[in-house]
Symmetry: C2
Subunit: 154 residues, 2 copies
């Protein structure tokens, strides 16, 4: 078995053994070495964003002292939900290996597939009502930011 | 102007004044009162997941001591990226008000629209290569989790 995925599975098993959250684990790898591991901690931390991939990415960026993980790869026991897929993007990670799928996650009670279906337009989001207001006022920070010549891009 | 969006805009302005990250702010509201505010802190914390909505949701769940924000609303100065849209879903927030759009964000240099286009299938993701491996081994934690009768659902 792939040695990094083996570590990710072990993380997932540890997480559920201690009732910390869902059965998910992830590992961030750089130059063939583990930089950070993570498992789902939604229950343990009361934080709905603490999915395995987010935990591993946050730990990796903290360890490396930079928000850019473009020299890393991520291994995750399940296809990332859209939150985690996007987090991988924002971290600039270029390669991802995943094990189970969004449908496997759905079968054990998670909304990953629902969210993908909403975002791909296959389904109307019945759980979140959205309304646009005050666009003009909200654009003010954008304009100031856009003119700032000394900003750090990310 | 809507009083909660006004606070969100102020948050965004504070964030860029201090060069903490992008020009985004968010507010979580419960029963007409502010529970938590947040602005983008990607640069300040070296954390690519520290978007305004995530910061506000994490602060709110910490404050309330629960991962379920189904009695809250969120105000955000920009249409959430797919990471934040999904985080709002995972936090079970049923109502969202947003100001600027994914295209406004794109105009000042952010990949929000790119990510939506990838997730909706309009665009192939040229920035992340994905590969499925070791599904069977990754399903083992799922099976254990599925059989656990005493787990906390989220």
């Amino acid at each position: 078995m792939n040695r990094f995925m083996k570590i990710a599975v072990k993380e997932a098993l540890n997480g559920i053994k201690n009732k910390e959250g869902g059965p998910f684990g992830a590992v961030v790898v750089k130059d063939g070495e583990v930089v950070a591991v993570g498992h789902n901690k939604v229950i343990a931390t009361n934080d709905p964003t603490n999915h395995a991939e987010i935990v591993a990415i946050r730990t990796a960026t903290e360890k490396l002292g930079r928000f850019d993980l473009s020299d890393c790869e991520i291994y995750t026991t399940c296809e990332p939900c859209p939150m985690c897929y996007s987090a991988i993007h924002w971290a600039k990670i270029p390669v991802m290996y995943y094990g189970a799928t969004r449908s496997d996650a759905e079968r054990v009670g998670f909304d990953d597939k629902y969210l993908y279906d909403v975002l791909t337009g296959l389904k109307k989001d019945e759980k979140l009502r959205s309304e646009q207001i005050e666009r003009d006022e909200c654009l003010v920070p954008f304009e100031i930011y856009d003119k700032d010549q000394n900003k750090t891009l990310y």
